[in-house]
């Protein structure tokens, strides 16, 4: 049964409830039996060893998982109580409500900085032709990139530094006004300074969005996440499972499961 959602006022960002979710590639489960509540206005971190299914789980939250050939899911993901895997759900609408930022910055190489930011807004004729500099400025400001690129809006997106590109991708994701932002190891290809900039940004945007971040960096989880979920696979070749979830401080100070403690104390992974 779906957990009852808290009474929501219209402005509140959405919540997500993962219910008994198993995600497979070619019939082989990569992550199994996950139950997880993701609260609005919080940062939820998914941590765990490589191959434990963090990315797969994250990609189930906006349905991107199913665009991979051979991929399947069972169970449900409730976005404000509506199952995104229900027969009548609209994938395009869901992916617009649940934005995503990837591990490698992926600005569209043929587009300028501004066109990258506005790319999502031009979809489905949500926005007519025009410069729309105001919208670009808004999104870039939210991503903390505006001061750095305001004179380079026409430069190709690929001409920015790696950290700037990643913030450009965040701006692009925020421009379409999603309710939830998913981030898959957004800092793993960035230098420490850019990483801190993005972490600051995450703490800022969680005021208005629900954020889920995958990270293999436990300090990062400790720095930005309110809630931390730990996944691991019981044995090689078995699907990853959710071991423990709770407030970040509690997970790192007094984990309840032995495997969690082993992982955060560096014994495994």
């Amino acid at each position: 049964m779906p957990t009852p959602a808290p009474p929501s006022d219209t402005a509140a960002p959405a919540r997500l409830d993962v219910v008994n979710l198993t995600a497979s590639y070619h019939g082989r489960p990569a992550v199994a039996d996950v139950d997880l509540a993701i609260e609005p206005r919080q940062v939820t971190a998914l941590i765990g060893p490589s191959g434990s299914g963090k990315s797969t789980l994250l990609r189930c939250l906006n349905g991107l998982h199913l665009t991979v050939p051979g991929a399947s899911v069972t169970g449900s993901v409730l976005l404000d109580d509506a199952d995104i895997y229900a027969k009548d759900s609209n994938p395009v609408e869901i992916r617009q409500r649940v934005g995503m930022v990837f591990q490698r910055p992926t600005p569209f190489p043929t587009m300028s900085v501004r066109d990258n930011v506005l790319a999502g807004l031009h979809l489905g004729r949500r926005l007519g032709r025009g410069p729309h500099d105001d919208l670009a400025e808004q999104a870039l400001t939210k991503a903390g990139l505006w001061p750095e690129v305001k004179d380079r809006l026409k430069a190709p997106g690929g001409s920015l530094s790696g950290g700037q590109q990643q913030r450009l991708c965040i701006a692009r994701a925020l421009a379409v006004d999603p309710e939830i932002l998913l981030m898959d190891e957004p800092c793993s290809h960035l230098d420490p300074i850019s990483t801190l900039t993005i972490e600051d940004l995450i703490r800022e945007i969680k005021e208005t969005y629900t954020v889920v971040i995958v990270t293999h960096n436990m300090q990062q989880a400790a720095r930005v996440a309110d809630t931390t979920a730990f996944l691991t696979m019981p044995a090689v070749g078995e699907p990853g499972r959710l071991v423990e979830v709770g407030p970040t401080e509690r997970i790192f100070s007094t984990p309840r499961q032995q495997t969690t403690e082993d992982y955060i104390s560096g014994k495994i992974g």
Binding site: N62, L64, T67, P69, G70, V92, E93, R95, Q96, G99, M100, F102, R104, T106, F108, P109, T110, M111, A119, G120, L123, G124, C169, R172, A173, V176
Partner: protein, 331 residues
């Protein structure tokens, strides 16, 4: 033994000895590479040498200033007017190639998008193989098929075009009737089918190089599949598609037998209408070289051949350059 003097020359020799440890192989591949160059140069030299008497007799440029090809009017003495005008063949080659491109490029792009992005996994390989098989059909078979299947099939469309667009202001002459079947249009159609496989194959490669991350970024923004293709795949592939198109053009420009069979081989003057019969540079050579008995006739066909070689070389080089530059862009 005295040590070798450390000069650039000895260093080069030492380096070469370390690199090339199998001399026979080296000479074999060198010879093969040289052979290719020799064949190309020899062909060009041969064409110009064979054409030379006609070029000297009539003047090099006079071939390009007339659209009347009338071998029976040629004499061994008269130089003016040059009865071997070739403008209509250049026009025929250009028009048929253009029709082929206009039809084949969009279809090839659509087919390759389908094959790489839309078709279910199990269908991709067999369907790609089928498209590749189109390239295996011999040219003469396409010609036969053009005469006996395509012409009857497009006759209603041709007649309709001449009745409607044929009298339109401006573009009227391009669609003027009557339409008897053999025509630039049918030749262009046959060419389109013949160049479809190569354009599709290259576009397929180009689309396959678009990173999954780019496509997923578009999808994650809420793009439909078509929007994803337009946002992430097509812009990245623009120069690759252009290169593929130009390589297809190279094929179309040189294609001979199938075109000769369906174009009508009308050489006496230029036919502007795409519904009318005409000839291309290659079709006139194929059609006439066995019976070229008039003065300077064979030599003038060689002139056509030389120009055709020039055009084909340019088109193919441009296409290769574009495709190669794209490869570097993507990498």
């Amino acid at each position: 033994m005295t040590p070798l003097a450390d000069t650039p020359a000895t260093r080069r020799r030492v380096r070469a000895r370390w690199r090339d440890t199998d001399t026979v192989f080296r000479y074999a591949v060198r010879a093969a590479a040289a052979l290719v160059v020799v064949v190309l140069v020899a062909t060009a030299v041969f064409l110009v040498a064979q054409a030379w008497p006609a070029l000297r007799h009539y003047g090099i440029l006079s071939f390009l200033s007339s659209d009347r090809w009338a071998p029976s009017e040629a004499t061994t003495t008269a130089r003016h007017p040059n009865p071997y005008g070739i403008v209509q063949f250049v026009y025929g080659t250009a028009v048929t190639s253009l029709i082929a491109m206009v039809l084949a490029v969009p279809v090839a792009v659509a087919v390759s998008l389908y094959l790489t992005e839309v078709a279910p996994g199990w269908l991709r390989k067999p369907l790609s193989g089928l498209v590749d098989l189109l390239a295996a059909i011999p040219s003469v078979v396409y010609g036969f098929w053009g005469i006996f299947a395509l012409i009857p099939a497009v006759r209603p469309a041709g007649v309709w075009l001449s009745r409607t667009l044929g009298s339109a202001p401006g573009i009227g002459p391009v669609f003027a009737g009557p339409f008897f079947g053999v025509s630039y249009l049918v030749a262009g159609l046959v060419l389109a089918i013949m160049i479809l496989p190569i354009i599709t194959a290259i576009c397929r490669e180009v689309f396959a190089t678009v990173p999954t991350a780019d496509k997923e970024s578009a999808l994650a923004l809420g793009a439909t599949r078509w929007e994803m293709l337009r946002m992430a795949v097509l812009p990245r592939s623009r120069s690759g598609i252009t290169g593929a198109a130009v390589l297809g053009l190279g094929r179309a420009v040189g294609e001979t037998i199938a075109v000769t069979m369906v174009i009508g081989n009308s050489v006496l003057s230029i036919t502007k209408s795409i519904l009318g019969p005409g000839a291309t540079m290659s079709s006139v050579i194929a059609n006439e070289f066995t019976e070229s008995t008039e003065p300077f006739h064979l030599q003038s066909l060689m002139v056509v051949g030389a120009w055709l070689l020039v055009i084909a070389l340019i088109v193919n080089t441009v296409g290769k350059l574009i495709v190669r530059r794209t490869g570097e862009d993507i990498a």
